[in-house]
C-alpha cells in the first residue's frame, strides 16, 4: 500500500492513481460501492448504543485525512506525472496522501451535489403542502413553484441542446441560438442576475438609513468612531482631498503673517463651533459664536482661495518630504487604516482563528455534545 522505490517500467502508481478506464479502477469502484451499501445497512441494523461510536469513528477517520495532509510533509520537489519515485516508506506515504487528495475532493463534491436534492425536496414539501391546502401566503408558494419549474425546464433544455458539435458554435456566437437559448438567457441573465444585483443595491439604501440612525456621538467611544469614520469617508472624495492638498500647499508658501491669520481662522472656526453647541440656550452667546465662525471662515477663504497674492503659484504641491504631509486627509486616513483598523481586525482574526481551531477540534474528536444539552 505504501510504495517504496520500485522498478520503473511500467511506472508504479499509488493506490489512488489508477489510469482512467483501467480494470483495477473499475474493481476498486465496485468494491467501494459494495462496502458503502454494506456500511449503510450495518448502520441501520446496528443497536442504538453502537451508533455513536460508529459515527465518532467515521468522523475521526474523515478528519484524520485532512489533519495528516496538513501535518505530514508534502513531496515538495515532486512533479506531477513525471514518474518520480519515493525514496523510502515515509516519503511514499506523502505521495499516497498527495494522490488521495484528487479522489477525496470529488467525493465531497458529490456529497454536496446530492444535498441539493435534499433541499429541493424540502422546498417542494413545504410549498406544495401550502398550495394544496390553501394555507396562509399560498400565493407566494405558487410563484416559487412556477419559477422553480420554469428555470429547471429551460435550464436543462438549453443544456441538452448545447451538447454535441452545435454547442461550440452556440458558445461562440448568438447567431446559432434557438428558443431555449434565448429563454434561458432571459431567465438567468435577464431576470435572475439583475434581481440579484438589485438586491445588493438595496444594501446602499439600508446603509444610509442605518448610518443616519446609528452614527450618533452618544459617548466618547462613539464620538471617536464617528470622527475616524468621517475622516476615512472624506479621504475617498477625490475633489475634497485635492482641495485639501492645495490648501496645505498654499499654506506652506504663505508668509508668516498670512500663516498666522490662517491658523487663527482655523482655531476660530473650531472654537466658535464648540461654543455654539455649548451655548445652552444663551442666545447672545450662540449668536456671537455663530458670527465668530462666519468671520473666521471668511478670513480663511480670503487667505487661501480667491485672493491672488502676487507671486503666489496657484496650486503649489506639498513637497514630498515635508512634515505638512502628515496633515493631508489621505495621510491621516491611511494612518487610521494602517495603524488602528488593520491591527484591530488582525487581533479579532487571531481570536476567531483560535476559536475556529478549537471548534474544529471538538467536532473532529466528537467532544461537542450538540443539542445544547445542559
Amino acid at each position: 500500500m505504501f510504495p517504496v522505490a520500485q522498478a520503473a517500467a511500467p511506472l508504479p502508481t499509488t493506490f489512488w492513481a489508477d489510469a482512467n478506464g483501467s480494470a483495477t479502477l473499475w474493481i476498486k469502484i465496485a468494491i467501494t460501492l459494495a462496502l458503502g451499501f454494506a456500511l449503510i445497512f450495518a448502520l441501520l441494523v446496528a443497536p442504538v448504543a453502537a451508533r455513536r461510536p460508529i459515527v465518532t469513528g467515521i468522523t475521526f477517520l474523515a478528519g484524520l485525512f485532512y489533519v495528516l495532509k496538513w501535518l505530514y510533509p508534502e513531496p515538495i520537489a515532486r512533479k506531477g506525472g513525471d514518474g518520480q519515485l519515493p525514496r523510502n516508506a515515509a516519503e511514499g506515504f506523502s505521495f499516497w496522501l498527495s494522490d488521495a487528495q484528487s479522489v477525496v475532493t470529488p467525493v465531497s463534491n458529490v456529497i454536496v451535489a446530492l444535498l441539493i436534492g435534499l433541499g429541493l425536496a424540502n422546498l417542494l414539501k413545504i410549498h406544495l403542502t401550502r398550495l394544496l391546502k390553501a394555507q396562509k401566503d399560498w400565493g407566494y408558494s405558487l410563484v416559487l413553484l412556477v419559477c422553480m419549474v420554469t428555470f429547471v425546464i429551460f435550464g436543462y433544455w438549453d443544456w441538452i441542446t448545447r451538447q454535441g458539435p452545435a454547442g461550440a458554435a452556440m458558445q461562440a456566437s448568438r447567431e446559432t441560438w434557438g428558443f431555449p437559448q434565448y429563454a434561458n438567457d432571459l431567465l438567468f441573465d435577464g431576470l435572475l442576475q439583475n434581481m440579484e444585483a438589485a438586491m445588493f443595491s438595496v444594501v446602499a439604501f439600508y446603509i444610509l438609513s442605518a448610518a443616519y440612525r446609528a452614527f450618533r456621538a452618544r459617548s466618547v467611544e462613539a464620538s471617536i468612531l464617528l470622527v475616524t469614520a468621517l475622516i476615512v469617508m472624506v479621504s475617498l472624495l477625490g475633489v475634497v482631498t485635492l482641495v485639501d492638498d492645495q490648501t496645505i500647499g498654499r499654506f506652506l508658501v504663505l508668509g508668516p503673517g498670512a500663516q498666522a491669520i490662517a491658523v487663527l481662522a482655523i482655531l476660530g472656526m473650531a472654537g466658535g463651533t464648540l461654543l455654539f453647541f455649548r451655548s445652552a440656550g444663551n442666545r447672545t452667546l450662540a449668536a456671537a459664536s455663530g458670527v465668530g465662525v462666519l468671520v473666521a471662515l471668511v478670513a480663511f477663504i480670503l487667505v487661501f482661495r480667491g485672493v491672488a497674492l502676487p507671486g503666489l503659484p496657484s496650486d503649489p504641491p506639498v513637497p514630498p518630504g515635508s512634515f505638512a504631509n502628515n496633515f493631508r486627509i489621505t495621510e491621516i486616513a491611511a494612518w487610521i487604516q494602517k495603524n488602528l483598523q488593520t491591527p484591530a481586525i488582525r487581533g479579532i482574526d487571531f481570536g476567531v482563528g483560535v476559536g475556529l481551531l478549537a471548534m474544529g477540534l471538538r467536532l473532529w474528536l466528537s467532544l461537542e455534545k450538540t443539542g445544547g444539552n445542559v
Binding site: 487528495q101 442576475q193 468621517l230 488593520t342
Partner: protein, 298 residues
C-alpha cells in the same frame, strides 16, 4: 369629545426623524444623475493599487497568470470593473490567463461574457483579438472551494483534469492541452494567482495556496479585512472597490495612451462621491439634531 393635541415637533425632532422614503429618494437621485455625466474626478491611487498595477506591468509577454473569477452579477458594480481593468492590462501585455471559479456556478459564464466584451473592444481599437484556448482558457466551476483550492496547490493538473473548453470552430478540448497550460506542472509555474472575488474565496486562497504569489481584487466592504494580508506581505497587491478600479484606470491612462482605459471605475466614481457626501451630511445632520434635542430637554 375632547381633542387630542399632538405636541408640536421642533426642528430637532424633525431632523431626527426624516422619513426613510425621502432619504432613499435623495440617494437615488444622488447616485443616478452623475451617471449621465462624464466628469474627470481628481484621484490619488493608493499604494496597494499601485503595487497591484506595477506587479502586472512587470510581467513579460507570454507569462501566465491564474485567475479565480469568483464573482457574479450581484457584485458587478465593483467586481465587473475590476475584472475589466485586469483583463485589459493582461491583453495589452500579452499575458496568458487561465480562469476558474469556485464560488458560484454562474461565475464561468459571467467571466466568458466579460472577456468577450473586452476582446471586442480591443479589436474595435485595432489590437489583436485574444483567442479562446490559445491565449486564455475558462476552466469552469469547481464546487467545494476548500478542497479545490487545496488540490490546486497540491497538484494543479489533477485539480483541473477533465475540464474542457470550447475553442471556436473546434470540438471541446481539454483545458490542460491549451497553450496556456503548456509547461505547467505546478501552480508555481504561474506568475500570480489573482483572485477577483466578492466572497470568502480570498480567505480560502490565503489558507491553502502556498506556492504562488497572490493578488486580490475585492469589493469595497471586504477591503479593510483583506488589507491585513497586504500589509503582512501575504498578498502582493490589492484592488478594493470602485476606488481601486478608478486607481487602476488612472494608472492605465498614463501607460496606455490613446487606448480606452476608462471603464466602470470612471463611470461610477462620481456617483460614489455624491453617495459618500450624502452619507456624511446625513450623519452630521443626525448628530446636530441629537444635540439640539438634548439641549432642549436640559
Amino acid at each position: 369629545m375632547a381633542k387630542v393635541y399632538a405636541p408640536r415637533r421642533g426642528l430637532a425632532d424633525r431632523l431626527q426623524s426624516i422619513p426613510k422614503p425621502v432619504l432613499y429618494l435623495i440617494l437615488t437621485l444622488a447616485t443616478a444623475i452623475p451617471l449621465f455625466f462624464d466628469v474627470p474626478v481628481p484621484n490619488q491611487p493608493v499604494q496597494e493599487s499601485v503595487d497591484f498595477y506595477n506587479n502586472l506591468m512587470a510581467l513579460k509577454p507570454g507569462d501566465r497568470v491564474l485567475l479565480a473569477s469568483d464573482w457574479t452579477n450581484s457584485t458587478r458594480g465593483e467586481s465587473s470593473g475590476e475584472f475589466d481593468a485586469l483583463v485589459r492590462i493582461l491583453m495589452r501585455r500579452g499575458i496568458k490567463v487561465a480562469i476558474y471559479t469556485t464560488a458560484d456556478a454562474q461565475g464561468p459564464q459571467v467571466a466568458r461574457n466579460e472577456m468577450t466584451r473586452m476582446i471586442d473592444q480591443e479589436v474595435r481599437e485595432g489590437r489583436p483579438a485574444y483567442r479562446l484556448f490559445e491565449d486564455y482558457t475558462v476552466l469552469g466551476f469547481f464546487p467545494n472551494s476548500e478542497n479545490t483550492t487545496s488540490s490546486i496547490d497540491t497538484d494543479i493538473r489533477a485539480a483541473f483534469a477533465g475540464k474542457k473548453d470550447y475553442p471556436p470552430g473546434q470540438p471541446p478540448r481539454e483545458c490542460l492541452q491549451s497553450p496556456v497550460f503548456q509547461g505547467v506542472e505546478s501552480v508555481a509555474d504561474f506568475k500570480y494567482l489573482i483572485v477577483c472575488s466578492g466572497t470568502k474565496t480570498t480567505e480560502i486562497a490565503i489558507e491553502r495556496i502556498k506556492k504562488v504569489p497572490m493578488m486580490f481584487m475585492v469589493t469595497g466592504v471586504m477591503a479593510p479585512e483583506t488589507r491585513n494580508y497586504y500589509s503582512s506581505g501575504q498578498i502582493k497587491g490589492l484592488v478594493g472597490g470602485v476606488k481601486g478600479v478608478y486607481d487602476l484606470e488612472t494608472l492605465m491612462s498614463k501607460d496606455f495612451p490613446g487606448m480606452t482605459n476608462k471603464g466602470k471605475g470612471s463611470a461610477y466614481y462620481l456617483s460614489l462621491h455624491f453617495a459618500l457626501t450624502l452619507l456624511i451630511l446625513v450623519v452630521i445632520l443626525g448628530n446636530v439634531a441629537m444635540f439640539l434635542a438634548g439641549k432642549r430637554t436640559r
